[in-house]
Symmetry: C2
Subunit: 199 residues, 2 copies
DNA sequence: GTCTATACGACGATAGAC
DNA sequence: GTCTATCGTCGTATAGAC
């Protein structure tokens, strides 16, 4: 059953996730989180006994699931791996642009800020990236790319997307993301052909 | 002339740059910076009247110059644009790996943490990215790629590198950077051919 | 002009009231 | 079990001694 406490816990993780995107991990104070979640301060330590670190892990896990869903939906509705990749990146371009370049990838920023300081957070970020690379590689394999190459290419695709979001935010332009969409779609399409897939 | 004060100022910027890479911008306190630079606390506000923000801008500018030099050296010594791109990325893989995955791109993390909060820092980051994209595009043009496509491709190349550094740090493996090196080198080489360059 | 001592606020975390 | 009041620490910034 879903108790009221569970809802509070979910709201806290969602708030943390949202604030991390605009202010980073260190820049997001617990006061801001409980304020945004409309939760009392003590409940943070009730639901997340490890404090901020546990809340951060929950936020990263949540982000992983959300983007994983976006990938799955694009893979299901798009006609080809290349089209799916393009759809995902264009969706991100819309999100980033419509947020006035305030939203970015929470996993990237937590990796960069805390990867060297918290092993728990670093592992959570590694798992998040893996949860995006694996389905991307699987999608490429359905296009006829051999497993090893699919994994390599999927890693690069995810890296490119992460980087493009950052460059887009810095330049306040969706051009880097659109450029990434074009190049990645072309790259995915080409790999399918060169691997001897359905041609 | 170079006064002692100028050296202190440079050391402060270098220390800020180094610490940002492992702990992020918000996670780096001025106390840690002056400690690392072996400088008295007041000199921060003497050399950087705007405080932490000014110091952050100096660190980002410094990072921009350093990586710009790496690109220029690779472009000068490598035999082709593709080889230059590979050399740059492999050099990054060495740096990231040998630092035990503690060093990353300071411009990325400042963009993600402060891009939405400080216009000055955001612009410094945008300038940094531009200072890497422009010479990369120029290099691609020497390979026969037309200007517009060179710019697009250069943006994607820089994005991919930024993202690969992040994924490498999260997974504690240089594999994402090596994968990026392979794919980017191939991409650069292909663009040269498809554009009707020296074949 | 350089640097030390300090002010003031926000942080994460906890103890204990309800 | 849920929340409020508070503690100690560290943050940035500054005032003033040298």
């Amino acid at each position: 059953m879903t108790t009221k406490g569970d809802l509070t816990k979910a709201r806290l993780a969602e708030s943390m996730l949202e604030l991390i995107q605009t202010s980073g991990y260190s820049g997001t104070g617990l006061n801001a989180v409980i304020d945004h979640a409309a939760a009392p301060k003590g409940s943070v330590y009730f639901h997340f006994p490890d404090g901020k670190e546990g809340l951060g892990v929950a936020a990263v896990d949540l982000a992983a699931k959300q983007f994983e869903s976006l990938i799955a939906e694009a893979a299901a509705s798009a006609g080809s791996p290349a089209a799916a990749a393009r759809a995902v990146i264009e969706a991100l371009a819309t999100i980033v642009g419509e947020s006035d370049y305030r939203l970015g990838c929470p996993v990237s920023v937590v990796t960069l800020e805390m990867g060297a300081e918290s092993e728990r957070l670093r592992q959570a970020c590694a798992s998040a990236f893996e949860s995006w690379i694996a389905p991307t590689a699987a999608l490429l394999e359905t296009g006829g790319v051999e497993p090893a190459q699919a994994r390599t290419l999927a890693t690069v695709v995810v890296s490119t997307i992460e980087g493009a979001v950052i460059v887009s935010r810095a330049t306040r332009s969706t051009q880097p993301l659109h450029a990434a969409a074009d190049v990645v779609a072309d790259l995915v399409d080409r790999s399918r052909q060169s691997a001897g897939g359905t041609r």
